[in-house]
């Protein structure tokens, strides 16, 4: 296999075996097509037809701080793990090994001191019949590696940013993140993919998150890329007793964005929180797939996805909640609200419940509608121009998800992006 020459791993290692098995799995299942029920509304044809470069010319990626400064969270001290064209950039990064490992997956693969951790966690929950995750595993070589040891509250948020530069041709990147948070520890993570290129970019990202007992993780995904970039983001979360994990997905940019988010509850009294905002226009396409597997009793899950679709954009929401027979006393809530702003925009929503236990309280709801005409009239009567009035109402529609953000500067940033997307200055300073 050609990629072996490029990958920096000895061909006889355990790691190599994992990758070879993943490659075999990919060769077996291939890329998903619309015939696959989970891909019914999203076609990858338009982005898979490009002739992507898998291993870009390493000498060409030059990024200066001023040109990317805007993509970082400012006004807050943070750890940063920055990659340019899939390669770690130490100049822009700020990592640590002080009581915790906030570093690189390549280091974790190569160094023997990480072997136990890697054997225990790497690719343990990403096993899937989905071809794209297998492809990522087969090529996995770089990404963020975060291991927070017991009883540490990480005060500074961690930023993981992937830049793509204006390199010679279309590029396919396959970042792989591994995040492990041990007992009683807490961490906040912000992930972002940003293209600086005018060529097509496809990111096929896989992230595995492990929350051990009583761990708290807040994960934020900012998806506000250029229109020549597409993102396939697959995230797996495994939780142990009394842990709380929230994954917040903000999809504003990009051509095709596909988020697959799976939660596995492997203990009791777990809380899983899934939040999302999709605000898109033009011919953008956002597909959110969520799976919550309730596998132990006395757990909760709360899911809230809001979508606003303008222009000829398409939104997909496919939410599944599985409650296994043993998972008594489960509380699972799922809500998907959508607003279509034009007749050319489309929404496909599929909120699903599969329940095998009787003593549960599960509900799901889905709404599709428009802005309240009376509210709009009321505001215009009081001198607020139509555009601003609409924007205010739309902002209010997304507010519940924005309010859940626990990093103040991030909340401001998201609010700014929303007002930019709506084409107005909301004048809200948070």
């Amino acid at each position: 296999m050609a990629f072996e020459n490029k990958a920096s791993v000895a061909t006889e290692s355990d790691f190599h075996k994992v990758r070879a098995a993943a490659m075999q799995q990919f060769e077996k299942v291939g890329f998903p097509t619309k015939k696959n029920e989970n891909w019914k509304y999203t076609s990858l044809k338009s982005i898979l037809n490009n002739d992507y470069s898998l291993f870009p010319d390493l000498t060409k990626h030059q990024v200066q701080l001023p040109e990317v400064d805007t993509y970082f969270l400012k006004g807050v001290d943070s750890y940063k793990i920055v990659f340019v064209d899939g390669v770690y950039n130490s100049y822009l990064s700020e990592t640590t090994h002080d009581g915790m490992d906030i570093c690189l997956l390549s280091a974790a693969i190569e160094k023997t001191k990480y072997k136990i951790v890697m054997d225990h966690y790497f690719n343990k929950i990403a096993l899937t019949s989905d071809g794209l995750s297998s492809l990522n595993t087969a090529f996995a070589s770089e990404g963020a590696f975060i291991h927070i040891k017991k009883n540490i509250i990480v005060e500074k948020p961690i930023q993981i940013i992937y830049f793509t530069t204006n390199c010679e041709k279309d590029i396919l990147l396959q970042p792989r993140n591994l995040i492990i948070v041990d007992e009683n520890s807490q961490v906040k993570i912000v992930e972002r993919h940003q293209s600086l290129s005018n060529n097509k970019v496809l990111n096929n990202t896989v992230t595995e998150v492990f929350a051990n007992k009583r761990a708290h993780i807040d994960y934020y995904k900012i998806q506000n890329d250029k229109l020549n970039a597409s993102l396939i983001d697959t995230t797996f979360v495994q939780q142990k007793d009394q842990s709380v994990v929230s994954v917040n997905t903000f999809s504003f940019g990009g051509d095709i964005t596909r988020n697959t988010l799976s939660f596995y509850q492997k203990g009791e009294h777990i809380n899983s929180i899934l939040n999302g905002i999709s605000l898109i226009n033009g011919t953008q396409h956002v597909d959110n797939q969520t799976n919550v597997y309730h596998q132990q009793p006395n757990c909760e899950s709360h899911e809230l996805y809001k979508g606003i679709y303008d222009g000829k954009s398409t939104g997909v929401f496919n939410g599944k909640v599985f409650v296994e027979q043993i998972a008594q006393k489960t509380d699972a809530y799922q809500q998907n609200d959508n607003i279509l702003l034009t007749d050319d925009a489309t929404i496909y929503s599929k909120p699903q419940l599969e329940i095998f236990a009787d003593d549960v309280a599960c509900s799901h709801g889905c709404t599709i509608g428009q802005l309240d005409k009376d509210a709009l009239f009321y505001m215009r009567q009081r001198g607020i121009p139509e555009k601003e009035a609409k924007a205010l109402l739309l902002y209010a529609f997304t507010n519940k998800v924005v309010e859940a953000i626990k990093i103040p500067v991030l909340k401001t940033k998201i609010t700014k992006i929303i007002s930019e997307k709506l084409g107005v200055d909301l004048g809200i300073d948070l």
């Binding site: 549960v360 599960c362 709801g365 599709i368």
Partner: protein, 483 residues
Amino acid sequence: MSKKYTENELEIDLKDKEYEYGFYTDIESDKFPIGLDEDVVRAISKKKNEPKWMTDWRLKAFRIWQKMEEPDWANVNYVKPDFQAISYYAAPKQKKQLDSLDDVDPELLKTFEKLGISIEEQKKLSGVAMDIVIDSVSVATTFKKTLNEKGILFCPISEAIEKYPDLVQKYIGSVVPRTDNFYAALNSAVFSDGSFCYIPKGVRCPVELSTYFRINEGGTGQFERTLLIADKGAYVSYLEGCTAPQRDENQLHAAVVEIVVHDNAEIKYSTVQNWYPGDKDGLGGVYNFVTKRAIAYDNAKISWTQVETGSAVTWKYPSCILKGDNSIGEFFSIAVTNMHQQADTGTKMIHLGNNTKSTIISKGVSAGFSQNSYRGLVRVGKNAKNARNFSQCDSLLMGNDCGAHTFPYIEVKNASAQIEHEATTSKIGEDQLFYCNQRGLDTEKAIALIVNGFSKEVLNKLPMEFAVEAQKLLEISLEGSVG
């Protein structure tokens, strides 16, 4: 389910009498040898004295069916029927048309009595005209006169093919095309009989039309075909109910119901389905794979109400195509599954016209080892302005070995649509049970009471006679599920 079942076991099971209506009428029947090929299709057509266009229509359907594969996307598991091991035609050996009840085979009359349907009583008291179907051939039709006066055509479809070929030719396959799905294609090729009803312009049908279906002959597939047409401004309430005798092998039922509702017309279609659900180990029982669909034109209204308590496997999605402006579609359903029953049922609401409205109320009750799924589609087309949909799916779980699933599909392409969907799953509250127990109701009665309350919204939509029967059925189906 895969292993065969012996006579002795049947004997023991019959003693247990789980299925109240599980008996078998001994009528000599005129039955085709098993298997399906072009000749069988031709023979069915010939037996019915059908014109050439009908024979050709069936043959074309058969060729379409040959190329199709049995679907497996539904959330049910069963041993797929062997289509070459079924006899495709069985009719009681009665050649001549009957004018009065006296001519009916006394054995048959006894069967009806056991079912609790005395035709005389029905005739006198309830004012319901009945087209009783036993193994595919209609044997008694009442109230013909009243209907004739109004110009309403209500007869077996085989008769309609003979008498009103223009109407049948115009409408058959117009709502459910032969290419629609595997079972619809099979039904189109081999349907034995069914009902045909045409309500002329501006006529309000004075009686509730009802047909009782019964599957009587062991190893016979039932392929009913129903065609209902309400012309402009007409109204009819149509009831369909069924019970099947206990048999030791799975029986296949693949019916097609097509409904056309013209401008300003209204059709109310109610079903109570209580086919043999199989025994307590999941052996036997009816496979119910039905395609039901209605098309509504301007200002028309179609309302489906169903109470599903029977069948081992149910696969059924009564649908509404809201083609005309201001048309309305409604779907009210209760599906109760117990023992090893599996139901995958729901509806499709396709909004095409402007200002269309649809309402979906679906109640699922699962007990025992059963699996109960709601699968529904709400689609709003690009040019359908101001579409409105409200969906509510509630599931009740009884016991820890059953499952309740919800698979709603919502596809909207117009910004003016307003769609709401909500679903809940829960169990019967212990405090509710305690409250009933405290007041002297035993747990079984209390559950029946609570389930009835849970289903009230749907039961209220049924015509009176059926509401009573349906309530009883809910109780019978949930017997022994306490624990």
